[in-house]
Amino acid sequence: MQQIDNIPLGKKILGSYIILAAIFALIALVGYSTLNTTGTNLLTFYILCGAGIVGSAGIGILMTNSIISPIGRISANIREIHSGHLGERINLDRTDEIGQMADEMDKFSNDLQKYVIGTMKMIADGDLSRDLKVRDPKDEIVPALIKMTGTLRALINESNKLSIAAVEGKLSVRGDADKFKGGYWEIIAGINKTFENVVIPLNEGMRISAEYAAGNFTAHFDEKIKMRGDFKTFKDSLNRVGTDISASMISINQQLTNLAANTEEANASIQEVSAGSNQCAINASSVSENAEKTTKGMHQVQQAMDDLSRAIQEVALKSESVAQLVTDTTSYSKNGMDLAQKTETGMQGITKSSNEVNQIIGDIKSQMDKISEIVDLITDLANQTNLLALNAAIEAARAGEAGRGFAVVATEVKSLAVESRASAERISEMIENLQTQTNNAVEAVAASNQGVRDGSLALQDTISSFGNIAGSIDKISQNVTEVAAAAEEQAASIEEVAASLSEVMNLVDNSSHEAQDTAAAMEESSAAVDQITRVVGNINGIAEKVSQEVSKFRC
């Protein structure tokens, strides 16, 4: 039987038909022979026919068994595969077409179970490392597998890219969903959507944080952005931070302004205090100075008083000697008066004599004037004569020889005229000199007259002066007595003044000491005020700095 199975199916069928044909041929041959032999061979024919039919049937059954049974097993195997049971194998131990078919079937099962399903299992486990190779162009399984792994790899890559971006904080990165289809697209789109829903609040939060960082606490979450769940808490918290800090800043600003105002007031007050204490110090020092001056003045006054006291004593002494001198003076002035009166009488005599001299000089002057007139006349005559002589000379010359004698006479006349004119001029000069001298004499006499008059007046003055002297001396005498009495009184007063002065000096010394103490205290207080000023200045500086810092924030 095994041998039959291993025969190829075509040969089996061919063999079967050959056998069948042989059988039929045998039958036909037998039948033919029998026909010739009539009767007796009919039985054999039949036997032969039956034998042929049985043989054919037997062969047919054998053949059928040999084909149908393996096909049934293959069919069952296919059903198993259809049900996903890939562990079954046909395991036909045959070499014919059915055996080959079964082998192929088993190979397919193996392939499917180990390669395709194994690969799928690996993919399911996340292992995409299997290297798949397309077996031939018509292969559909492996390309499908390759595509699946490719798609999955791309999906993983995309997810990885997004997750790395998220980890690195690159929130603007999005997955490319269009690279995928169907469910995969949904996955990436979903991730994108998730990103967006997280990123927008985060961005807003970041923007707000940036504003806060820049000092703008008025920034708030954009109400248009919808927040849900935990983001709402995030938003509320950030908003509260802004509002609270803003309120605090305003309050701080307010306080700083108040502080600045207060320090300014303090400063002003301190300056007033400082000015006041400076003024006090100046006043104290000027009091001190004045006190010193006063003391010095007092000393001088005291000195002066001592001097005065001495002077008064001297006055008392001098007044006595003055009294003596006054008596002497009185007698001298009487003598003077007598002498002056005698002089006056002499003066009057001089005046009379000089008046007479004046009279005489006047007479001389008038006579000289007359002489002068005569001289002028002579000069005129001389001139006329000169002219006549000239004309005579001219006439003589014109007369020629006849006039020769006359010319000599004319020349002589001319020289006479010239001489007489010269003489007249000399007289004229003399008279002029005389006149000048006479004038001088007149002036001298007038001057002496004036001198005598002045002397006379002076004498009268002298006499009256002597009279005044006598009167004055009486008064002096009287005054000297009074002075002596007054000097005594003054001496008493001066002692009193001296006593008062020492008292005043003590007081001034005291006030000077007090003023010095005041000045010292003022210096101390001034130093303290300076200290306060510095502190206030520091506060002011700090406040300004804080204010500057705060002003950087918008609230």
């Binding site: 001219i394 010319a407 001489e419």
Partner: protein, 187 residues
């Protein structure tokens, strides 16, 4: 008085001339080389004109000025009933005027009527003397410096004794005819 004194001095100067004149008078007879002039003063300088051009010398009398005449035409005077024209010779010869000297102290030299058709006189500061000189006393060449003024005939060197020293005084000898003719030409 003072001007008279000056006049006296100036007038006194030619007085020793009376002797040379008389000598000249005798000399004139010996040789005809002498001539007579009338010496007069214009400003500081001595001038002389030919004696035969002179009619007479008269004292100053007030001058009546004529309108619209040349500046050297002083005016006219009445000389013993005759109208006489007076010419200011200083102005005519361009001698600088001495303002301290007054016209009233001057003299008129009345010229001979042969010279001028009308009776004419010239105003001078003073008339000194009638003098006789020899021709050798005249230096005609020395007028070369005076340009082409034909009115100057020459310079007369007049010897005078001044304190025993003989000094030479220069007298400008002018031709009064030419002076007047030039004047007429200019007119």
């Amino acid at each position: 008085m003072t001007t008279e004194t000056k006049e006296g001095e100036i007038a006194g100067a030619p007085s020793p001339m009376s002797h040379p004149q008389s000598q000249n008078a005798t000399g004139m007879r010996a040789s005809q080389k002498t001539f007579q002039v009338l010496e007069f003063l214009l400003g500081k300088e001595h001038f002389a004109i030919d004696l035969f051009d002179v009619r007479e010398v008269v004292e100053y009398t007030p001058i009546t000025q004529l309108p619209n005449t040349a500046s050297y035409m002083k005016g006219i005077i009445d000389l013993r009933g005759e109208i006489t024209t007076i010419i200011d010779l200083k102005d005519r010869l361009h001698i600088p005027l001495d303002k301290t000297r007054k016209d009233e102290n001057g003299r008129f030299i009345v010229l001979d009527e042969k010279l001028t058709g009308v009776k004419t006189g010239i105003l001078v500061d003073d008339v000194l003397a009638v003098s006789t000189f020899e021709e050798k006393d005249v230096d005609a060449a020395s007028t070369a410096g005076a340009g082409d003024d034909e009115a100057i005939l020459g310079i007369i060197k007049k010897k005078t004794k001044d304190k025993e020293n003989e000094v030479s005084e220069l007298v400008i000898w002018i031709d009064v005819r030419k002076t007047l003719s030039i004047m007429e030409k200019k007119e």
